[in-house]
């Protein structure tokens, strides 16, 4: 099967994602870390109604 231009672009995207995973793992970087408090005034109780 010959690779379409779209498939080649997607392959490049996958490679960049893999490189991103490698770099973020090496530098232990994550946008989902918990360095910042999610709310300034603490919790306000249950949301149950």
């Amino acid at each position: 099967m010959t690779m379409t231009k779209r498939l080649m672009l997607y392959a490049a995207w996958c490679l960049s994602m893999l490189a991103g995973a490698a770099i973020s793992s090496y530098f232990a970087w994550s946008p989902w870390s918990d360095e910042d408090k999610p709310q300034a005034n603490g919790p306000s109780g249950p949301n149950h109604k």
Partner: protein, 437 residues
């Protein structure tokens, strides 16, 4: 190219016929009337006075497309329930007729195929390729005519149209009065049309949208690159998972328990030591309060303090668990445990400290009365030295919290983000393909 001239019976103007011998109808360029030129005596089909000015391609303009010099000899404006578009009839005495269609600021070049498509289950097959049906049948109405044509055409004429698509190729089927016409259309760049016919490029500000449309255009399943794309995404996701586990994975190395008082805060409790051995690592801290605690929340402020540099990295955690009963029955909310991920911790030895701030909901619990009153201090006005407790009313509620911490955690948020980024595009393409079904 032979050009003949006839006189318009409506305005008396001279009308040039560029495809003499082929054309059967022509619109007068001066008054816009539609003329029947299939017989020697030119007759008026309908007088039409709307200006033909403003067409994206002027009648009579010549341009080279695909190594053929074409002349624009006719223009139709048509519409269906949703869109309006322009169709320009091109003529070359050696190559015959062709079409340039301007639809939604996208140019398409069309020729009538000699070999007709054969019908399939959900589309047609033509020259070994499967074209899928693009939407349903629409009724197209001619709203404007200018120039000359090889068939009788007038404003208000209707035809039923269907489209079949594969990539950037479209097969257009028109049925009118029992006559079936196929046209093979291919997308051409607006810049090429503008350059060939020396007209402004009406598509230049939609170049990005055009590229996105071309990228999303999905061929039929048997020719599709979508399965290969999904497979490529899965392999990448798996490799990323292995990579993250190898580089980041770890298991708890520090265990500590603490009695957290409710209704007040504590500061600077040292939980243990974490050693980060790689240049950079994640540190994960898990805290779990006792299962019998409910309607309580605990703020946890962590500090990882580097023993050599005294630099502190702060992070935050929250445990909250509530339960109650309402008209629907008992309910619970929250969890007894929480995990905190500290990112980008450089190599070194760290002491882990925690500040706690625990409270009850909807209010802090009242201290339980202690019958073993201290006669010298019955109202607990002064706290016994060194205890920090509240004296005789000081059966202070505490919550047992177990802490675990370790370097090298798996960043699951990163992996889920990776999955989303990898599969958004195939998902959009699948939606794009099946949006009409």
């Amino acid at each position: 190219m032979t050009i003949q001239a006839v006189t318009c019976p409506q305005c008396g103007g001279t009308v040039e016929i560029r495809a003499a011998g082929w054309s059967v109808a022509v619109a007068c360029g001066q008054c816009g009337s539609e003329l029947d030129i299939s017989r020697p005596e030119v007759t008026l089909i309908t007088a039409w006075h709307e200006s033909v000015a403003g067409l994206p391609l002027p009648i009579g303009r010549r341009g080279v497309l695909g190594d053929v010099e074409w002349e624009v000899i006719g223009a139709l404006t048509r519409h269906d329930d949703e869109d309006e578009w322009h169709e320009f009839l091109l003529f070359n005495p050696y190559s015959g007729y062709a079409w340039l269609v301007l639809s939604g600021r996208e140019w398409q070049f069309g020729r009538m195929p000699v070999d007709l498509p054969s019908s399939g289950t959900s589309g047609v097959r033509w020259r070994g390729r499967r074209f899928r049906r693009d939407g349903g049948a629409t009724t197209m109405t001619v709203s404007r005519v200018a120039g000359e044509f090889y068939w009788q055409v007038r404003s208000g004429d209707t035809a039923t149209g269907r489209s079949y698509i594969q990539g950037n190729d479209i097969l257009s089927l028109e049925e009118s009065d029992g006559e079936v016409t196929w046209t093979h259309l291919t997308t051409v760049r607006g810049a090429d049309v503008a350059r060939a016919f020396d007209v402004p490029d009406v598509t230049h500000d939609h170049a990005i949208g055009h590229a996105v449309h071309g990228f999303l255009a999905a061929p039929p399943m048997d020719d599709s690159d979508l399965p290969a794309m999904v497979g490529m995404g899965l392999v990448t996701a798996l490799l990323a998972l292995v990579l993250m586990l190898l580089v980041g994975g770890g298991s708890p190395v520090m265990h500590e328990a603490m009695a957290v008082p409710v209704g007040r805060s504590t500061t600077g409790t040292r939980l243990g030591t974490i050693v980060v051995e790689r240049p950079w690592q994640f540190v994960k801290i898990r805290a779990r309060m006792s299962d019998d605690a409910s309607n309580r929340w605990i703020d946890l402020d962590y500090s990882l303090v580097n023993r050599n540099t005294q630099r502190s990295i702060d992070a935050y955690g929250l445990i909250e668990f509530y339960r109650g009963t309402d008209s629907d029955g008992p309910w619970t909310e929250g969890d007894h445990a929480t995990s905190t991920l500290v990112a980008g911790v450089p190599r070194g030895t760290y002491d882990l400290y925690v500040d706690t701030n625990a409270h009850g909901w909807p209010s802090d619990p009242a201290p339980a009365y202690d019958p073993r009153l201290d006669p010298a201090n019955p109202w607990a006005l002064t706290a016994p030295s060194g205890t920090g407790s509240s004296g005789s009313w000081g059966n202070e509620e505490t919550i047992a919290v177990a802490f675990e911490a370790w370097p090298g955690a798996m960043p699951w948020g990163n992996w889920w983000s990776e999955l989303a980024l990898l599969f958004t595009l195939p998902a959009v393409m699948i939606w794009w393909r099946y949006r009409d079904r």
